[in-house]
């Protein structure tokens, strides 16, 4: 009986966490470059694996993973909006090290450097990309390989990186950015296409999340009903025992 309660408790905790993750996905349904977090559903097998090693009571643990599938490419018409098609990231320079993002809503700061919405510098192949003051925003063209051309002359080129098989090591840093442990070095992204005046929409699918949300709430309910049933069962046992 206490075992059952412990199992239910861990299951309810996991479902609550899963619900929180779904709510976060739904909150970011309009966030450019956002990658959906999925919760790992193969946790029966996973928990069995753990059982054999730890001998715990079949408690479930939840794992999260990022779904890096391509989001829709949406036209915005803004010359400093960029979408990446294919596997790759823009590099954001911060005092705490490099971050990686697929949100290409960029700006030019007072020094002419290309920055993100938080004013952090976007890395070029050779340092920040500086747009000369003689060039207007409407004269900036970015080719599909990330080369920035201003009024016919090459100004710089976006640094585009990829993590290949290490992609699952990326963790969210907030503000649309990802970070990796220091020991992982990004590789140069290949087969990526940069599209100017477009942005990559969030890859959250409202319907999928809605279905997951319903599943979670029903499972939660089922767990609660089970506790109620257990309570009734123990009540009747007590009645018999007490006469």
């Amino acid at each position: 009986m206490p075992d059952t309660i412990a199992q239910i408790r861990s299951s309810v905790d996991s479902l609550t966490e899963q619900f929180d993750i779904i709510a976060h996905n739904l909150a970011n349904v309009s966030t450019a470059g956002y990658k959906r977090r999925c919760t790992v559903f193969s946790r029966l097998l996973d928990s069995q694996l753990r059982n054999s090693a730890t001998g715990s009571n079949g408690e479930v643990a939840l794992d999260g993973a990022l779904d890096f599938s391509q989001g829709d490419i949406v036209e915005t018409g803004r010359r400093l909006d960029f979408a990446i098609y294919g596997k790759g990231f823009f590099v954001v320079e911060t005092p705490g090290g490099q971050l990686y993002t697929r949100n290409g809503v960029f700006h030019i700061n007072q020094n002419g450097q290309i920055v993100d919405s938080d004013g952090r510098i976007i890395a070029g192949q050779a340092g920040p990309i500086v747009i000369p003051s003689t060039i207007g925003v409407s004269q900036i063209h970015v080719s599909t390989d990330g080369t920035v051309i201003g009024d016919g002359t090459v100004i710089g080129s976006f640094r585009l990186v990829d993590f290949g098989d290490n992609e699952d090591k990326l963790v969210s840093a907030g503000a649309n950015c990802f970070q990796v442990p220091e020991d992982i070095q990004p590789a140069v992204a290949e087969n990526v296409v940069v599209k100017q005046a477009y942005k990559e929409a969030s890859n959250v699918k409202m319907m999928d999340e809605l279905v997951n949300m319903i599943t979670v709430s029903r499972l939660y309910e089922a767990n609660m009903n089970f506790v109620s049933a257990q309570k009734e069962a123990s009540d009747s046992i007590m009645e018999v025992a007490m006469g």
Binding site: T16, A23, V29, R50, T76, G77, H107, G112, S172, M206
Partner: protein, 261 residues
């Protein structure tokens, strides 16, 4: 309490802002020189419950960590400076800027503001003013005996008097910013310089980096009604689904409450 409640609330607030921005865009669908705004979202910080690759038992590492995000915020609303349609008005003092650049406007208190609304007028003293009555900088005065006024592609204002002699009385200058999206909106079709926009560079229309001036045309708003309506529907649905998350969460807590009767 469920973390999801506050997460969904951030989603609703953000979508609400998006609806506000769209409403303002739609309201300005016929405003001369208006540039539409777009909302840029950012995900909030994550609570790391378990690092990825953490060891759960000897030799067994989790394939992925567990991080739960806390929602979304509006990072910025950015103005999109794509050109609007040019509408032929035939009026000599209607000017449109083809390409980058803003007109300078002097406010009564001496401040300089910027606009792309080129529906210029003459006031009682023959001075060139905006529809609101603010002076164009540099100030240009047209003498009362002028019979016609022309504005050249470079912004030069030509006046022809009754005898047929024409003379240049001034040149409308343009300014440009490193980051026009950083300009702040002041209402009345006016924009103001900020730390984010960078400092203004003054120049003549047609110079490198500056657009040309087209007399007889007005630049219409760059708001596309259909795009805005589609965005409005998306925002409304996103708002709805976030509120649904709160409702479902509430149901879950209700079952939990019912457990103890």
């Amino acid at each position: 309490m469920l973390r999801a409640f506050s997460t969904a609330a951030t989603g609703m607030t953000a979508q609400q802002t998006m609806v506000d921005v769209i409403a303002n865009n739609l309201a300005n669908v016929n405003t001369i020189g208006f540039k539409r705004s777009q909302t840029d979202f950012q995900d909030l910080l994550y609570i790391k419950l378990r690092e990825s690759g953490a060891e759960v038992a000897s030799g067994i590492n989790t394939p992925g960590g567990l991080e739960i995000g806390s929602g979304v915020r509006v990072a910025s609303t950015v103005k999109v400076f794509s050109p609007g349609e040019f509408q032929n008005t035939g009026r000599k003092l209607d000017i449109a800027i083809r390409g980058d650049g803003f007109l300078q406007v002097t406010l009564p208190n001496g401040d300089i503001k910027y606009t792309r609304d080129g529906a210029l007028q003459l006031n009682a003293n023959g001075q060139l003013v905006t529809t609101t009555g603010y002076f164009i900088e540099p100030a240009i005065t047209i003498s009362t005996d002028a019979v016609s006024v022309d504005v050249g592609k470079d912004g030069s204002v030509n006046v022809t008097d009754a005898t047929g002699t024409s003379s240049v009385v001034g040149t409308i200058q343009l300014v440009r910013f490193p980051n026009p999206s950083g300009l702040s909106n002041e209402g009345d079709n006016l924009l103001a310089e900020t730390g984010a926009s960078g400092t203004a560079t003054t120049g003549t229309a047609g110079e490198s980096g500056f657009g040309t001036i087209q007399s007889g045309f007005l630049e219409k708003s760059n708001v596309q009604m259909v795009t805005e309506l589609v965005n409005l529907i998306t925002a409304q649905r996103a708002y709805e689904i976030n509120s649904r998350a709160i409702m479902v969460g509430d149901e879950m807590l209700k079952t939990a409450n019912n457990m103890v009767r």
